[in-house]
């Protein structure tokens, strides 16, 4: 009946009692609390043609037909299960038939793990869908956000702005999307919210305190840039692909974040290789 909370020695995550969405993140050791709502949304793809100003969304082009994403509609709380344990605590969320998420806190780890599962994206309504996860916080970010750039240094991005020319922004959403190869973050003077990805994705911050990443997409028209096919992967059963991946969320001070997200990034992108063998030996005999 109340809010749901999971925590380890570093982080506390609180989920809203009515919606089941993530509500606050607290760094317990540094006493930093961030009000942050996390949920999934989808942009409806443009279905025009590239002969005039109604460019379609497709394999090459991300072009939503509006500036606001549509909400993944949920009924009541999305939380279906909470697991408490000494090593790992989990909150299971079901947003609808094709969007679910498990949020985990492992003992001793400074980051929360968000494992999302999206798909098969419905197609019977004929609407192209580009699915995002979005974190809306109370950070005062002054239109600034940060993404890594093709494996090189992290670059500051600014909403509707380019550093070296005067931009006439005609695409308020897509024109502010940037490649996120491993991480994206927003910050103010005292707090930094960093999200590391397990694969390259597109990401942006379209409002102050907001951070979004595109996790899956499915469209029904070719964008006329050469591929000659719509980006409509049907999978072996014909109903579409299911994508599953992870985001790693950190809330730290801006001063400490650089070292911490780089250390975590090394662990994620040079992850250990695990192999198995059936065994009938004791430890001594194995040794």
């Amino acid at each position: 009946r109340g809010d749901t909370e999971i925590h380890n020695e570093h982080l506390s995550l609180v989920f809203d009692s009515a919606t089941g969405y993530l509500k606050t993140v607290t760094n317990l050791k540094k006493k930093l609390t961030l009000n942050v709502n996390q949920a999934f949304y989808w942009y409806n793809s443009s279905t025009g043609n590239n002969k005039d100003s109604t460019q379609r969304s497709g394999a090459y082009i991300f072009r939503p037909n509006g500036t606001e994403p549509l909400t993944i509609k949920t009924k009541g709380s999305v939380i279906t299960k909470v697991v408490a344990g000494k090593l790992v605590q989990e909150v299971h969320q079901v947003f609808n038939d094709w969007v679910t998420q498990v949020i985990r806190l492992y003992a001793g780890q400074r980051q929360a793990e968000l494992e999302w599962t999206v798909g098969p994206i419905p197609f019977k309504d004929g609407l192209g869908k580009e699915i995002i996860t979005r974190f809306d916080s109370d950070l005062k970010t002054d239109k600034k956000f940060y993404t890594d750039a093709n494996g090189r240094e992290i670059l500051q991005r600014e909403l509707n702005h380019r550093q070296t020319w005067k931009l006439n922004q005609t695409e308020p959403v897509a024109g502010n999307y940037y490649p996120v190869n491993s991480r994206i973050f927003i910050k103010d003077a005292s707090k930094q919210l960093t999200v590391l990805t397990d694969r390259s994705q597109g990401g942006s911050s379209l409002k102050d305190g907001s951070l979004e990443l595109m996790v899956h997409r499915r469209m029904f028209y070719d964008d006329n840039f050469g591929v000659g096919e719509a980006l409509n992967e049907t999978g072996v059963f014909g109903d579409g692909l299911v994508a599953r991946g992870k985001h790693y969320l950190m809330l730290e001070s801006p001063a400490d974040s650089g070292q911490l997200h780089r250390t975590l990034g090394e662990q994620l992108y040079m992850a250990p290789a695990v192999s198995f063998t059936p065994n009938t030996l004791s430890t001594q005999d194995w040794s």
Partner: protein, 195 residues
């Protein structure tokens, strides 16, 4: 065949593979090449681990890999009551507090560290499978979670036994010695072109 992954990666440098703008049948071909390369790499890693573990005339069993752990599928851990887990750390510093999550079918398991000490574990239920799967379909009822520590550029082996079927002789031999430091499975792998 040891070049297969390099060749697949080289092919995938094409801009269509990087950005995902290839036709579907080309995407399928890229995936096939990368998979074949990954399988070859697993064989190379398996041979390297075997050579490092070999003591005298005894050949250690061949390493098996599980590429479907993200959907709770691993035949070796699901079908065996006792199995060894070898973790190789490619980082140039010790890895601590890393958690393994293995699909299993038993109710409770004991995990021995390379030093012979008991490792804390947690069991979690696997959610009901709602998505159609082609090919191997996991039957695991639970996931076994435990932390591992691995030396820089080296490996550690953890032994996992289903608690209810554990050999009583093994239990009597090892439980009193839970803190005994054997420290022989953990070893450094010197720089090797193969690795």
């Amino acid at each position: 065949s040891s070049q297969r992954f390099r060749e697949a990666m080289a092919v995938a440098q094409h801009h269509d593979a990087v950005s995902g703008t290839e036709k579907q049948h080309v995407a399928n071909d890229y995936a096939m090449r990368l998979h074949a390369g990954a399988v070859e790499c697993q064989a190379v890693v398996g041979r390297a681990l075997t050579s490092k573990m070999k003591k005298g005339s005894v050949d250690p069993p061949a390493a098996q890999f599980c590429t479907y752990l993200n959907i709770s599928i691993c035949p070796t851990t699901e079908d065996n009551d006792n199995f060894a887990v070898t973790v190789y750390n490619p980082l140039a510093r010790q890895l601590t507090g890393h958690y393994l999550r293995l699909p299993v079918n038993g109710q409770a398991y004991t995990v021995s560290s390379p030093k012979g000490t008991s490792v804390e574990t947690q069991m979690l239920k696997v959610s009901p499978r709602t998505v159609k799967v082609r090919g191997p379909r996991g039957n695991a009822t639970s996931e076994l979670v435990f932390p591992v520590t691995v030396p820089a550029l080296g490996f550690n082996t953890y032994l996992v036994s289903q608690a209810s079927k554990r050999n009583t002789r093994m239990e009597s031999l090892f439980m009193p010695q839970a803190e005994t430091k054997l420290n022989v499975v953990s070893m450094m792998i010197p720089q090797s072109p193969m690795m």
